[in-house]
């Protein structure tokens, strides 16, 4: 493979096409795309949209693994399309389908409503306590306090973890990996006092206790958030809290 622009070598794609109202189910359509070693799947899709078929629909924005909008199943595995290099899928073909476990809006575009509603429900923002610092002051955190939640704050809401989660596949109610990891991110933030407002939901049967520690969420996470670890950590905390509340004769509060 020399200069990509002059090569005539191509790589095949099988891309799921689906137009609700017209198609009864998604079907795979074959496309050939010029092969460039520096291209990612998203580049190939943009090439197709510009040069071959303008109706091909997919989400993207940053092209650099930051915005989290380009998730899709690439050869059956949830991936960010902007981080999936063609050269890792030689000789092809590369199968691209919408993220599993979500309703499809069109082609590779999924419906996010369920996730957005669950995300709001766990209040992913800092809930100040009774005595927030004065408006002109700063919240100070030690490096250790920052380290306590930083990993969980790396989530870009790309939903790859929901596509990988067999529990979410079967149990629509399950809050899911990213939402639980984000709840943990705020629970562990020294500036936040909102734990008790979140735990009613996150420590319920639809929250952490639906998780059976399959761990696929952490395996596919492009940001190394480790949602499975976050959920395990929350299980320990919830269990300690349970024993404290039941065994401690005079209550905790």
């Amino acid at each position: 493979m020399t200069s990509g622009a002059t090569t005539t070598q191509t790589i095949g794609f099988e891309i799921a096409r689906y137009l609700p109202g017209e198609d009864r189910a998604p079907t795979l359509r074959h496309y050939d795309v010029p092969y460039r070693p520096e291209w990612v799947v998203l580049d190939a899709l943009n090439y197709l949209k510009d040069e071959v078929d303008g109706t091909l629909s997919f989400r993207w924005s940053c092209r650099m693994g930051v915005c989290g909008s380009c998730g899709a199943m690439v050869n059956g595995v949830p991936r960010l399309m902007c981080a999936a290099f063609l050269r890792d899928y030689l000789p092809g073909p590369i199968r691209v389908e919408p993220l599993a476990n979500f309703p499809i809006e069109r082609d590779l575009v999924i419906v996010l409503d369920d996730f957005m509603q669950k995300l709001r429900a766990v209040k992913p923002w800092i809930i100040p306590g009774d005595r927030p610092p004065p408006a002109d002051a700063e919240y100070r955190q030690t490096p250790a306090q920052l380290a306590d939640f930083k990993q969980y704050s790396m989530c870009i809401n790309c939903l790859l973890c929901y596509s990988a989660c067999p529990v979410y596949q079967h149990e629509e109610e399950f809050l899911g990996p990213a939402v639980l990891a984000l709840a943990q991110r705020y629970d562990h933030d020294s500036r936040d006092r909102g734990n008790s407002q979140r735990h009613e939901l996150t420590w319920s049967d639809e929250g952490i206790w639906d998780c059976t520690f399959v761990g696929e969420c952490s395996a596919v996470c492009p940001k190394h958030v480790d949602p499975a670890g976050a959920i395990q950590q929350a299980k320990v905390e919830s269990t300690m809290d349970w024993y404290r509340s039941v065994l401690w004769p005079f209550g905790r509060r």
Binding site: P166, H170, W203, S204, D205, T212, T239, D241
Partner: protein
Amino acid sequence: MRRSPEPVFWSLFSAGGVVLALIAPALILATGFLVPAERVEFDRLSAILTQPLARIAVVGLAFLTFVHAAHRLRHTLVDVGLRAYGGPIATVSYLAALALTAWAALVAFG
């Protein structure tokens, strides 16, 4: 706050996993290799395990490992698609763990 009962089962499950991970290799080594190879005399092992406190510990270990297995079995069955029967599966699994513990107690104190 609506409390999930899961912390109880999960903590027993975790405890069972830990003791199993620690005890099982030692048990396999002792009863599977050292005793048959006559490096450890069975009578001595038996004498240690039949002291009153040891019997209680043995039943406790059996309880934790059975609950561990029951919990894992329950969630595996639910994960493979029997979610609709989650309630009965849980009941049967944990009752089986209790029954097996009772049997272990009969053996340990019998």
